[in-house]
Amino acid sequence: MEKYIEFQNITKIFPGQKALSDVSFSVKKGEVHALLGENGAGKSTLLNILHGMFPATEGKVFIEGKEVKFKNALDAIEFGIAKVHQEINIIPELTVAQNMMLGGEPQKGILLDRKKMEQETQVLLDRLGCDFKASDKVGLLSAGKKQMIQIAKALYLNARVISFDEPTSSLSNAEVKTLFGIIRELKEQGITILYISHKMDEIFEICDRASILRDGTYITTLDLKEATEEELVQNMVGRDVSMFAQRLKPSCADRNQVVLKVENLTGPAGFENISFELYKGEILGFFGLVGAMRTEVMRAIFGADPTTGGTVYYNGEALPENRTPNTVVKRGIGLVSENRKEEGFVKNFDNADNIALASLKKYMKGMFVNRKMKEENSNKVGETVGLHPNDPEFMTVSLSGGNAQKVILAKWLSTDADILIMDEPTKGIDIGAKAEIYKLMEEIVASGKSIIMVSSEMTEVIGMSDRILVMREGHMAGELQRGEFEEERIITYAVGGSQS
């Protein structure tokens, strides 16, 4: 079957905004087909049309040559089109079987047929090679296992098409491996797979072909056996951004000035004896796998979580053990959290208020906060970080991921903080905005400030760091100087293999 799914001249217009414009391409039966594009390119809109979440304004979708018009998501699922969500929506209090059968539970009279539920579920779990049971409570399972439940559910519904939207964003490396194994198996069974991801290495590993969207228009479909990463990226952004994670300026690290010294930091989260130093003007990369506890260490330094031992020195002065973010921020350390929405900004606040949140004292006239001064600051710092739209009254929550991140950076640049801890600074951000964040980081260290960058992206860590520290399961595993950056060495430290 050459054209299993065919999109024909799909246009989707939201009030005042054209999300998709005349998109046409097709997907072969049993292939893993990547959908690529920057945030806002229209990938999710296209998938939502396929899944019956909303209809296309114009154009048709064909499956096996027949036009399909789904009224809602359920309609599409019944037809055999399932989705594995980016945010894993599962009810933690229920068992695996209950979650899988939700809405379609087998019954004996008016009672649930629990036995049948668990048996049927177990068969599917076994088929996927899962090591948990149908009777296990979902809340106790890891993100990767929860995703397996979604896949099992899709199989239970006899799905012929399964779409994955950023499936690996919260998985550990081992889980990603398992997932890919399963995707390959699904493919062999003739199931067609649509795959959205920002991670290039994954796409090359698992996908057969990739269709690229840019600003709602279809650009091209490439065979991944022939295409190069640069080719993909160029098509996605429409400009040459080869090697975007790269230092454009010389290092500003001053090895004679230690601005932050961490000594034997130990915390209840499970990390032990963490010691390192941060130099003035340095970008210090922190690499590790999921479970390495980099975020936990950073939160402990910042006073967001308690510690059980160890000391943090800021410019030679020990921070109190019972420090809180309030006292640490006052000293001059800022934390750009990995979870922007949950921890980065206030959703009811506009840009001016969010940018001013950590430095409110600066905008006082006597006893009162002065809105005008906040707006002036927002305009000024917004320009520095390249915020778009740079409008103090724009609601931060309505910004794209990249711009929301710029608002958070603007918030810390508005303070007098000279150390920024950036946790996964480009997570979920499209490539164009990534390059801007990298540039900004270089400007920040050039102005004499220092950055700790926690990142799980190898290209980013190698490209941006002055020095790399590697953590493994709550311990420091290794340190590499700029000249020693090699992917194999970093990974070896991270997984704890023999160090050659």
Binding site: F14, P15, G16, Q17, F302, A304, T324, P325, N326, V328, V329, K330, L335, S337, E342, E343, G344, F345, V346, K347, N348, F349, D353, A356, L357, A358, L360, K361, M364, M367, F368, V369, M395, S398, K411
Partner: protein, 320 residues
């Protein structure tokens, strides 16, 4: 002009609702729009509004305080006792405010430091403060509050309008300035909008929460002071269920129960609308039981308008 309309859509719609209410009740029974009745409406609105403005602060932090009715009674009884004992009226007032602030502060500490859920914490103190009101008075109303105290808060300042209306206005201005012009106010919104983001930005969340409950309770204490002056007694049974009136005033005025959003002037108008409706139903001789149904419906409609409004706003945003 357009901007004023856009930013104050909620307040304007409540004003329109008040106008429509006056026209309907007025047409059905002209007594409704008589000066005496309007003063009545206002008198009642003052109590709802003082408490509504107060309860708004914890609500904006995404909490709730259902102990306000009990604190109304407790602070009122203490003040009445002191006044009867011959204590200087101003000193009585001061003590009443301190009692309110302390009671709110206790709620705040339970919620911020001990991490109790706001509803549960204030449900506990609701009972405890009510019990204290009974203990102080041994269960009997405190009678014979001297005129020196009553006159202080009942004095007419403009025609039939009493000083209590002025106090209401001043309290509204104070809450407005607190919320919109001070650091604490900004932090109250920030804590309600996203507590973790606020904490990680260096906001002392626990302090902000505690202050929201403590300062908010001043509104209830003021209502208690005024009620004692109006009735001449301190009644330990008063204020039962009044937390609902206070929440209704805030909700009608557009305060989001999810936290992070709320405007003092909306609450002022909400209190007036709520009081006008209650008295309108009485003037119309509507059966008491139906009055409950009607007020319930108004709260639900007001909440729906809020949702409707957000929907329109988000649609407009997509267009922009």
């Amino acid at each position: 002009m357009k901007k004023i309309f856009k930013n104050n859509f909620r307040e304007l719609s409540v004003i329109i609702a008040i106008a429509v209410m006056c026209i309907i009740f007025g047409a059905l029974n002209p007594v409704y729009v008589s000066l005496a009745n309007i003063v009545d409406i206002l008198d009642q609105a003052i109590l709802y509004g003082l408490m509504g403005l107060g309860i708004m602060l914890p609500i904006i932090t995404s909490g709730i305080d259902i102990s306000v009715g009990s604190v109304l009674a407790m602070s009122g009884c203490i003040v009445a006792k002191l006044a009867v004992a011959g204590v200087n009226p101003f000193l009585c007032m001061l003590v009443g405010l301190i009692v309110g602030f302390a009671a709110g502060g206790i709620n705040g500490l339970l919620i911020s430091k001990m991490k109790l859920q706001p509803f549960i914490a204030t449900m506990g103190t609701q009972s405890a403060f009510r019990g204290l009101a009974y203990i102080i008075t041994e269960g009997y109303p405190v009678l014979g509050v001297p005129d020196s105290y009553r006159n202080m808060l009942n004095v007419k300042v403009l025609g039939d309008i009493r000083i209590s209306a002025l106090i209401f206005l001043v309290w509204a201005v104070i809450v407005y300035i607190l919320l919109k012009k001070t650091r604490l106010g900004t932090y109250i919104y920030a804590v309600g909008g996203n507590m973790e983001a606020a904490r990680l930005s260096g906001v002392r969340v626990e302090f902000v929460q505690t202050m929201a409950y403590a300062i908010g309770m001043l509104g209830t204490a003021l209502a208690g002071l005024i009620q004692v002056a109006k009735l001449g007694t301190g009644d330990p049974t008063t204020g039962n269920g009044w937390e609902m009136n206070a929440i209704a005033a805030a909700a009608i005025g557009g305060t989001s129960m999810a936290g992070g959003r709320g405007n003092p002037w909306g609450t002022v108008l909400g209190a007036i609308l709520f009081s006008g409706l209650k008295i309108g139903l009485i003037v119309m001789n509507v059966n008491t039981y139906w009055q409950y149904v009607a007020t319930g419906l108004v709260i639900i409609v007001a909440a729906y308008v809020e949702i409707f409004q957000t929907m329109i706003a988000s649609k407009k945003k997509k267009k922009a």
